[in-house]
Amino acid sequence: MKKNTLQKVLATALVSTMAMGALTACGGEAAPEASAPAKEESSAASESTPAESTPAETVAGIEGFVPFESTVTLQIPIYQRATPNGAADAGDNYWTNWVQENFGDKYNIDVEYITLDRGQENEQYALLAAAGKLPVCCFEYDYPDVTLYQNEGYLQEYDIDWFKQIAPTYWQRMVDNGLDAYTEINGENVLLVGSRAYGNTNYQFTTFYRQDWVEAAGFTEYPSDPDELMKLYAKIAELGLGGEHFLGGTKIEGNGADQNYPYRTYPLDELTWATTGDYVIPALSTEAQKALLKKQNELYNLGYIDPEYNTRTSDFAVSDFVSGQVFTYSCYSTAKNDVLDQFYAANPDAHLGIVVNPGPMTFADGTCTAYRPNGDCGQYIGFSSQATEEQMKAFAMYLEWMCQDDVFFTLKYGLEGINFNYDADGNPVYVEDQTGLAEQQGHNNNVDMWCLVEASAAATGDAEKDIKSCAPVGYPDSDKFAEQIWANYQGQLACFEAGMVAPDCKFGVTIAASDEYKDTLFAKYAELRDKIVMGSVDDFEANYEAASKEYLAAGYQAIIDEKAEAYNSGATTHLR
């Protein structure tokens, strides 16, 4: 080929490729405005084939399911999380294929999992919505976020009788757990709610501490009394146990930062609880938050907290603990714990304990043993506004199928002999290390898949067995872990029964100011709280006052006012 011809061919090919690539980037799915409303589109379709494309209309529940005439695509979100033990892609693995084979193929449904980064759902749902690609359902653990989705138009109303006909088992679970009371936002039935066992506590969230340090400091156990705890800290500092800043510290990240439950005054004032008792938006400007930050300020100025904590991510909490630099490490406890693996490998002579809630107690400094209970609600689930009628049906069928005992058990525990084995009492026990298995379960035994039904590690009905099942096993201190986790649960339950603990207030209407300002306030809180904590003890009062003013002006006052209005109009839950 002549050089000139070659140049021409190459130039043409290059330009064509680039042009096609660029134009393809512009194509893709139609924008929301171009697509017909879901309901209209689907009703037209169902008019043409009324009987064939409307399964599950005569016999209620799974018995009435018949395959769709034409394939229905069912997109379901699933959290993509860090998987330290090398689990496969959350959206494409053995278990997603298992769902397709055992559910999708049976009813002519193409099940697709859409991965979302945990903690960035708001942003990712917004982008999906803008692209006209919302999955068939949107779900959230945090109630304020789900009201945001309703406000932004991501959700669509459903007919409860219609749902009951397709998914009677799922609906009955909601009724049995009292969750059918939470289906409405702004007067529309938009939510389905998964359950959560032992929701009056947060027993699975545990704080591990260095028992060997406690003993070296002349104590026998981790003190519940804050004054005693300060004495223990002083002794640890004096003895030089661990690193120079043995309480470590990391920057504020994600929802649930700086929870002030032990710093509140009980019994709670209901209006204060409703307006400022928020999990997502920290309550800067309140007395409870002031007490919390005062303690942090004191610990910081004593040098116990890392002076550069505001530049350290949560990874530092792990590395500090594993390297024996810090006193405590908090996480959700499961039988297998990678951090403990590393910790005991690096510190073979060390001993750990789990901090136990001693039951309802109020201390001299005004703090108490209150905590934030998980609540009885697991996932809040809504049908997306971009879902067609067929897709809504397919999703209702999916929920009904998933809450069948055999299916739910398999999704939760996996395959016998591979993911779990039965113990002597006939209870399923997870295989600790599933690394490398094709059938390896994802984060927390596939919880992100089955959380639509129930967000509990174990719920056999035998509380002690269930609670202890999340204790780390196979470690030098495992015998104590199981007892301490059980004792902590009992202590928390006693606090709940004593009226010291209350789930956060839920609003039956969207709080527009909350949706408007929550991200701004979160960023501002991180900035202001660090200024307060890192300031001198003498400046604390002035710093707190100035920060409160700025925070209120940045939108927090608007949120408080709107919540108070909702509370006064009766659109909220109440304290017991």
Binding site: Q7, A11, A126, A129, G153, T311
Partner: protein, 314 residues
């Protein structure tokens, strides 16, 4: 005597002939033209979001028109004013500190005579441009931590300081470090255009200067710098257009709560209040405002450049 008929010489070419003759070149030109159309102009209809209460799930058809309400809200927002102030101050400082550096560096590189050393130096200078801001930020934090950072440890071990310098954890120190790291990252890559411009200077000018007895410094001052002046002016005008912009990656890489007084710039504002919260209208309105101010700055600086006798950009 009959007047000889002068041959008719065509000095212009019709566009059809030009295309027929150079079609390969025009075909190649299509690549950037298509990219600009697709990514710069095809997005224009989306600007209407700035005048709507845009709900992603409802699309344009389902969202309400709100006129200038979003702009009014933004201009009353204390965070916006803080972001605007910081963006302007830091971009001007970036321009002040960062703009002359590639010129100086290009002049210095041009004076190197040993080609091997020159090429190695150039490669080393270009490298930071290819590092992502995430990497630069994490390396910078590791190196500049007050208590455990390499730089502070070395300074303390040398006895030059008693306490670690908070290079990135105190706002004034942060400002200096942020600007200098920006210069370091961009100056090598920035020399490329200037070196190309220098290569285009007629060698006879240097010969004439040598004959006139000019030393190296004088050649640089009287030949090289005037030779690249139009390039300098063009790039300066283009950079002025970016004075309202800000780089989210760079700011995020150097983020920490104690420097937000300076670090909070428009890119962060747009990300937090726009994209992060699904408030696309707000993000678009600020973006539009940035673009308009940038355009005005370019037009004004172009006028000034032309008034001063330069070619300008437009």
């Amino acid at each position: 005597m009959a007047k000889a008929k002068e041959p008719k010489v065509r000095t212009t070419t019709t566009w059809s002939k030009a295309i027929k003759r150079d079609w390969q070149l025009y075909l190649l030109l299509l690549i950037p033209v298509i990219l600009v159309i697709v990514f710069n102009y095809a997005a224009y209809p989306g600007l209407r979001m700035a005048f709507m209460d845009y709900k992603p799930a409802k699309g344009y058809a389902g969202s309400k028109w709100v006129g200038f309400a979003t702009f009014q809200k933004i201009f009353q927002d204390a965070d916006f004013l803080r972001a605007l102030k910081n963006s302007l101050v830091f971009n001007l400082l970036d321009l002040l500190v960062g703009f002359p550096m590639p010129i100086i560096l290009a002049l210095m590189l041009n004076e190197l005579r040993f080609m091997g050393f020159k090429k190695v130096t150039q490669t080393i200078l270009y490298l930071p441009h290819f590092l992502s801001w995430a990497i630069i930020g994490s390396v910078a934090y590791t190196m500049f931590r007050p208590s455990t950072g390499l730089v502070n440890v070395l300074l303390m071990n040398a006895g030059w300081i008693e306490q670690g310098i908070p290079f990135l954890t105190e706002k004034w120190h942060w400002a200096v470090t942020y600007l200098l790291i920006g210069v370091w990252q961009g100056m090598g890559w920035g020399t490329i255009l200037y070196l190309a411009a220098i290569a285009g200077i007629n060698g006879e000018l240097y010969e004439a200067a040598i004959i006139d007895g000019a030393n190296r410094w004088q050649k640089m001052w009287h030949v090289t710098l005037p030779g690249i002046r139009s390039t300098v002016v063009t790039l300066l005008i283009m950079n002025l257009g970016r004075v309202m912009g800000s780089n989210l990656e760079r700011l995020t890489a150097f983020d920490n709560t104690q420097v937000r007084d300076f670090e909070y710039q428009l890119a962060i504002y747009i990300y937090n209040k726009g994209l992060g919260n699904g408030k696309f209208s707000m993000g678009t309105a600020v973006g539009l405002f940035q673009s308009l101010v940038g355009l005005i700055l370019v037009l004004v600086s172009d006028k000034i450049a032309k008034a001063l006798g330069e070619e300008g950009l437009l």
